[in-house]
């Protein structure tokens, strides 16, 4: 396999040592695909607005087997203490991509296993088309494999991914699988947090079988230096619901890429989200929602608040296949720019091959409204507090789309803790 290394240039070279020593046909084939394509640059359409320059120039090591328990504990406490209900929920905790049983409190009503014990890559991921998925396929060590049995309402499960690194970069590539069987129901809360220079590259394979419902919150509070590039596949069955929301707050570069497929009639997909970024942060929400059956509904509302030099990227494609008559699709991306240097790049796309559909999309960009600001100040509310109220209100209208009350309250609590009194800016 050493022959591969000469083909690895650009950021891919940062992983060359590890890619050269792989065992197993699936991993070797993924590494081979990577060697051919490299990691994406701006010439690749899906990565036109987001470069991987943030990966830097230092090699990414595999995470060490030992991690300071007190560090993990304090990161975990940071997650759980945001809202009083969280500590009581069942949780599966991963540290640097590996299950950390000492910190988990495993759920009862579900079938649980781990990728490390029986690596299965699933049917949905396409390593040959997506280099980040290929990188994950090549280097995945562990991941959650969760199955909610048919007809069971499993309540909440938290999947908490913590990155613990120092100054030397390390990377982890967890491979998660979530199956909600027929008529079952799960509320999944994924939280990403950490510290130090790490690269988190998860791939999540979700199947929502007929009549089932998955409510899925992803909270990104990755460490300030972290690069987090996740890809999620969701296969949505007949009359089933995949209702997702991503709240992006942390990390140096964070991308949340969703491929949702409405595979049978009367399915519902929500790919909603909000991001609030500042400094030099880049946050990318990319989605492809495929309507591959008739009478399905998709909804996507994404709101961005960008301060400092932060940049938000929204790429949303809704693909309506020829068979998908009576599709009901809606997509809206809105951005509030708090500084002259902040930027949003939005690329909404509708691609429709059916002739009897109802689809709409739109995008708005603006600053805080002067009339609203003056109204608040004229009522005695100081400018900074007034700005904060308007920013909160803008994001809160998106967070209100989170149906699950616990997840919604969690989002609000995290926002309040991070941003209380931070409405200041030019």
């Amino acid at each position: 396999m050493n022959a591969l290394s000469k083909d690895m240039s650009g950021p891919l070279a940062l992983f060359a040592n590890r890619l050269n020593t792989l065992a197993g046909a699936e991993r070797q084939s993924a590494a081979g695909a990577l060697a051919r394509t490299g990691l994406p640059d701006r010439k690749v359409e899906a990565w036109h607005y987001t470069t991987l320059r943030a990966l830097g120039k230092q090699d990414y090591a595999a995470p060490p087997m030992q991690v300071e328990a007190s560090t993990v504990r304090s990161l975990l406490d940071g997650v759980l203490q945001a809202h009083s209900a969280m500590a009581a929920l069942p949780r599966v905790v991963f540290v640097n991509g590996r299950h950390a049983p000492a910190f988990s409190a495993l759920p009862d009503d579900v079938d649980l296993s781990f990728f490390a014990d029986d690596p299965q890559f699933g049917q949905q991921a396409a390593p040959d088309r997506d280099p980040l998925v290929a990188l994950n396929t090549a280097l995945a060590e562990d991941g959650l494999v969760l199955r909610v049995p048919a007809g069971v309402d499993a309540g909440h499960v938290m999947l908490i991914s913590l990155g613990v690194a120092g100054a030397d970069p390390l990377s982890f590539h967890p491979r998660h699988t979530v199956v909600v069987e027929k008529e079952a129901h799960l509320r999944l809360i994924c939280v990403q947090a950490g510290q130090g220079a790490y690269f988190h590259n998860p791939v999540t394979d979700i199947q929502v079988e007929d009549g089932a419902t998955l409510e899925h919150l992803t909270l990104q509070t990755e460490g300030a230096q972290a690069v987090s590039l996740g890809t999620l596949y969701a296969h949505v069955g007949q009359q089933s619901v995949y209702d997702s929301f991503v709240l992006g707050l942390g990390g140096q570069l964070v991308r949340h890429e969703v491929h949702a497929r409405l595979a049978a009639t009367r399915g519902v997909v929500h790919v909603n989200g909000a991001q609030r970024l500042a400094g030099q942060q880049v946050g990318d929400i990319t989605s492809v929602i495929t309507h591959a059956a008739s009478d399905c509904t998709s909804r996507q509302t994404v709101r961005n608040v960008l301060d400092g030099h932060a940049r938000g990227v929204f790429q949303g494609k809704v693909l309506v296949e020829r068979i998908a008559q009576k599709t009901d699709g809606y997509q809206m991306n809105q951005a509030l720019l708090l500084s002259p240097e902040a930027e949003i790049d939005a690329k909404p796309e509708l691609e429709i091959y059916a002739d009897d559909v109802r689809c709409s999309h739109g995008a708005t960009v603006g600053a805080l409204d002067d009339d609203q600001l003056f109204y608040l100040r004229s009522r005695g509310i100081p400018e900074q507090e007034a700005r904060q109220m308007l920013i909160d209100a803008f994001l809160d209208e998106a967070i209100a789309l989170v149906e699950d009350a616990t997840a919604q309250t969690f989002c609000r609590a995290v926002m309040a803790a991070r941003f209380a009194g931070k409405g200041e800016s030019a």
Binding site: D370, R377, R379, I381, P382, E383, A393, D396
Partner: protein
């Protein structure tokens, strides 16, 4: 000279399409404590601009003149400082705040003002009790506290919400900019009663209106007629009735 509200030679302009447009051209106005004054005048005479300048809207540039409130230089204060000092503007077109809960908004405003005035902040329970009572006195539906500020409110509901804010913020000087416009007779009476409840030797109001009707409920002390950016005439309550019957033309011709 009272030490309450003194406006002298006030001139202000706004940037309109890159051109400076002079709107106030030397307003002189003195309002003593405990009085209700009325400003009437044709559209475009500068009435709303005067109210915005007094409340601190940044878009208007004051080019000359002074305005003092309790002896303080009003024009040097931030809008929130003016509110804390006791000034309140009821907007002609109240602003909608999507995503901002009305009760939270009211409580934030009340506590900001209380803080600035050196009073203790109110907790949620105490505040809600006070707000519910005030809303009830204005015949407002209880759910209006739970809705987003002014979003989906009818014209009348928005105006009542302005009076509710005024009631809770307890100003010593209130400017009501056409608070009567778009109100039916019952709503008009309720709004006027809301203002009347605040009347005290230490409370004054400046009421901008086109109609005599409001003044039947809100008996004013002085009437001022504004035209082309100045107060051109002042008189007693009878002046309002005269304008209501004869229009502005006669008065404008007299000063021309």
């Amino acid at each position: 000279m009272s030490q309450f509200l003194e406006i002298s030679g006030l001139c202000a302009q706004i940037d309109a399409d890159g051109q400076k447009k002079q709107i106030l051209r030397g307003v002189d106005l003195s309002i003593p404590p405990g009085e209700v004054h009325v400003i009437m005048g044709p559209n475009g005479s500068g009435k709303s601009t005067l109210s915005y300048v007094l409340a601190g809207r940044e878009e208007y540039e004051v080019t000359a003149g002074t305005a003092t409130f309790h002896g303080q230089d009003l024009l040097a204060m931030e809008p929130e400082e003016r509110a804390a000092a006791g000034l309140f503007l009821a907007f002609q077109s109240p602003i909608e705040l999507p995503g901002v809960n009305n009760a939270n908004f009211l409580r934030t405003a009340v506590n900001a003002v209380r803080r600035a005035r050196g009073q203790d902040e109110l907790d949620a329970v105490a505040f809600l009790k006070m707000a519910r009572e005030a809303a009830k006195a204005l015949s407002m539906a209880p759910d209006m506290l739970k809705r987003n500020v002014n979003v989906g409110f009818s014209g009348g509901e928005k105006k009542r919400n302005e009076v509710l804010q005024m009631t809770l913020l307890q100003p010593t000087f209130a400017i009501l900019d056409e608070t009567d416009s778009g109100l039916d007779v019952d709503a008009l009476r309720i709004v006027a009663e809301g203002v009347n409840r605040l009347r005290a030797p230490t409370f004054s109001a400046l009421v901008i209106t086109h109609h005599q009707k409001l003044l039947d409920y809100l008996v004013p002390d002085r009437i001022h007629v504004m035209a082309r950016g100045r107060i051109i005439l002042s008189g007693g309550p009878e002046l309002a009735r005269q304008i209501d019957q004869e229009g502005y033309t006669k008065f404008l011709a007299e000063v021309a």
